[in-house]
């Protein structure tokens, strides 16, 4: 059985190549929303923040740091997805008839 490290590296390698291929095809029109979207996605570190805060053995330090971390990433998740949506909605092909 591969170790956690080996599995992790394997997944990292594949995900990086997928990322490079997928991102290269993103229209330059959308580079700003792309950045706010990837930013929201990287707020997946919320998983780690929940694990450390919810741990039954969490020390006071862990709870405080975890609390700040959850607050920061939830802000990113909420504002990141909402503002990306607000931006991509603006891109219209034809003018709206007045």
């Amino acid at each position: 059985m591969p170790s956690d490290l080996e599995l992790g590296l394997f997944v990292f390698m594949l995900a990086t190549f997928i990322g490079l291929e997928v991102i290269r095809k993103v229209s330059p029109l959308l580079h700003t929303p792309l950045m706010s979207l990837t930013n929201a996605i990287s707020a997946i570190s919320v998983v780690g923040a929940i694990l450390i805060t919810g741990n039954p053995d969490a020390t006071m330090l862990s709870k405080v740091l975890g609390f700040i971390a959850i607050t920061a990433v939830v802000t990113n998740i909420v504002s990141g997805f909402l503002i990306t949506d607000r931006m991509v909605k603006m891109f219209k092909k034809r003018e709206v008839k007045k």
């Binding site: 490290l5 992790g8 997944v11 990292f12 995900a15 990086t16 997928i18 993103v26 229209s27 330059p28 959308l30 580079h31 929303p33 792309l34 950045m35 706010s36 979207l37 990837t38 929201a40 996605i41 990287s42 707020a43 997946i44 570190s45 998983v47 780690g48 923040a49 929940i50 805060t53 919810g54 741990n55 969490a58 020390t59 330090l61 709870k63 740091l65 609390f67 700040i68 971390a69 959850i70 607050t71 920061a72 990433v73 939830v74 802000t75 998740i77 909420v78 504002s79 990141g80 997805f81 909402l82 503002i83 949506d85 607000r86 931006m87 603006m90 891109f91 219209k92 092909k93 003018e95």
Partner: protein, 473 residues
């Protein structure tokens, strides 16, 4: 239950990839955002129902400290919603820098908490690659946190936008980084040396500040993209520390996205990463920026309007000045007015125009300009020779013909918009002062160039006012 959780994580990772894939075109981009939201929701639910407990069992019953968790979620949501809806589009670069800072801080704090939490079992839980992952996570996290705050300060103009340099700057940075790296290696070797950790974290925080202060405002698109990449990589390192494949995937996607964007930005300025990070752009040219008095022609709004009216094709070249003046809605009026007269109006967008990748596109889209009129540099350059009027609004270096001809110029080799090939060039600018990069723009002294002095927004609205008046006459 444990298997279900793993499958949920797999679905979530797949949705993140789809989410980015759908960003390839404006028509599918909203699906992309939706896929990302669902992916995130699934991941959060899976984390709760798959919470690790004693003896390998998992379940939501093992989650403790609910008050802390729920309060944090509520505060984060309460802060996030207003940011998303109130933030004006011109402030998007600052918001992006802020969210890089938040994401990086979270990764760094989780890493720090893990480090201290696992101390009692340091010999098993902080061994080998887990400790390597933790120091990478905290190092990147802390330096991206302060670095992004500095970038945000520069973008918000609470900090000076010009590069701040001092003697031996690169040497100082290098030594600091070397010490931080040395401490990191020491910690990996002996994770019980807890007294080293605060010094290590402090150095990382300081390094983030020092890394960004020598970088000028015009290089922000590259810097933001690099910080984006770092923030992703620190989330990725967290994935290794927690053996969570989902975090590795999401972090790698973010990291590669930042990497690609910074490569595109660097190419668009014909510069290398090291040059952007350590070159202190702007400083070098300050000495060469002394230009002799040269003659130029200027024109009033009335004259400019009559030229625009007679044109059959116009290319507007926007730059950071447009964002500063918030002129996008006025430009939309000009666009409408000219289009109704049968003038073909397009926009030529340089990849580094503005303060972050794609900045101009978002501003013009906000003003309801159809995106098929927003044309990339490589696609529009062929159109300039047939174009009657090129109207430059708030852009400077990206139109400077010196980039093609003057080997001594700091911007030599940078791909530019061939504005000087248009029949007539009009430049809206506050004054003849060169920008803070201090490079004189030869474009302004051409015989076919008319300088239109004034604030971008005020001048464009004067243009719009002049145009209908002429129809009535």
């Amino acid at each position: 239950m444990e298997h279900l959780v793993q499958y949920l994580y797999i679905i979530s990772a797949g949705l993140f990839i789809l989410s980015l894939k759908w960003m390839n075109h404006p028509a599918s981009s909203r699906h992309g955002v939706f896929a990302g939201e669902i992916g995130m929701l699934i991941a959060i639910i899976a984390t709760f129902i798959g919470f690790p407990g004693v003896g390998g069992a998992v379940g939501i019953a093992f989650v403790h400290n609910w008050t802390w968790i729920i309060t944090a979620f509520v505060i984060g949501t309460a802060v996030g919603i207003p940011i998303a809806y109130i933030m004006p589009m011109t402030a998007v670069p600052q918001r992006t820098a802020l969210s890089h800072a938040c994401g990086a801080l979270a990764a760094a704090l989780v890493g720090t908490a893990e480090f201290y939490q696992r101390q009692p079992h340091a010999d098993t839980e902080l061994r080998g690659f887990i400790m390597v992952a933790l120091v990478v996570e905290t190092l990147l996290g802390y330096l991206t946190f302060t670095g992004s705050l500095m970038a945000m300060g520069k973008l918000q103009e609470v900090l000076p936008q010009r590069p701040i340099t001092y003697r031996n700057q690169n040497a100082v940075n290098f030594i600091l980084f070397a010490i931080a790296l040395g401490l990191a290696i020491w910690l990996v070797n002996d994770p019980t040396q807890t007294q080293l950790f605060p010094i290590f974290a402090g150095l990382a925080l300081l390094f983030g500040v020092l890394l960004i202060i020598p970088i000028g405002g015009a290089d922000m698109p590259t810097v933001i993209a690099i910080l984006n990449s770092y923030a992703g990589l620190s989330a990725c390192a967290m994935g290794f520390a927690l053996s969570s494949r989902l975090l590795v995937v999401a972090g790698a996607l973010d990291g590669s996205s930042g990497l690609i964007l910074s490569i595109i930005m660097c190419k668009a300025m014909n510069r290398s990463f090291t040059n952007v990070l350590f070159g202190a752009f702007g400083q070098v040219q300050a000495s060469t920026g002394k230009a002799e008095q040269r003659s130029y022609r200027s024109a009033s709004a009335e004259e400019a309007a009559s030229i625009l009216e007679a044109a059959s094709s116009v290319i507007i070249v926007p730059g950071y000045g447009l964002a500063v003046a918030q002129a996008q809605h006025k430009i939309r009026e000009l666009y409408d007015n000219l289009s109704k007269r049968g003038v073909d109006v397009k926009f030529g967008i340089h990849p580094v125009a503005g303060r972050m990748p794609g900045h101009m596109n978002v501003l013009l889209a906000e003003a309801d300009i159809p995106y098929d009129k927003l044309v990339e540099m490589d696609d529009i350059n062929g159109d300039f020779p047939q174009c009657d009027v090129a109207l430059v609004i708030g852009a400077n270096d990206v139109t400077n013909p010196k980039a093609r001809t003057d080997k001594g110029s700091p911007i030599y080799g940078m791909p530019i918009l061939d504005v000087d090939k248009a029949h007539t060039v009009m430049v809206i600018k506050r004054s003849m002062n060169p920008g803070f990069a201090g490079i004189d723009n030869d474009l302004y002294y051409l015989d076919k160039t008319l300088m239109l002095f004034g604030d971008a927004k005020a001048f464009v609205s004067e243009l719009v006012k002049e145009l209908p008046a002429r129809v009535a006459a």
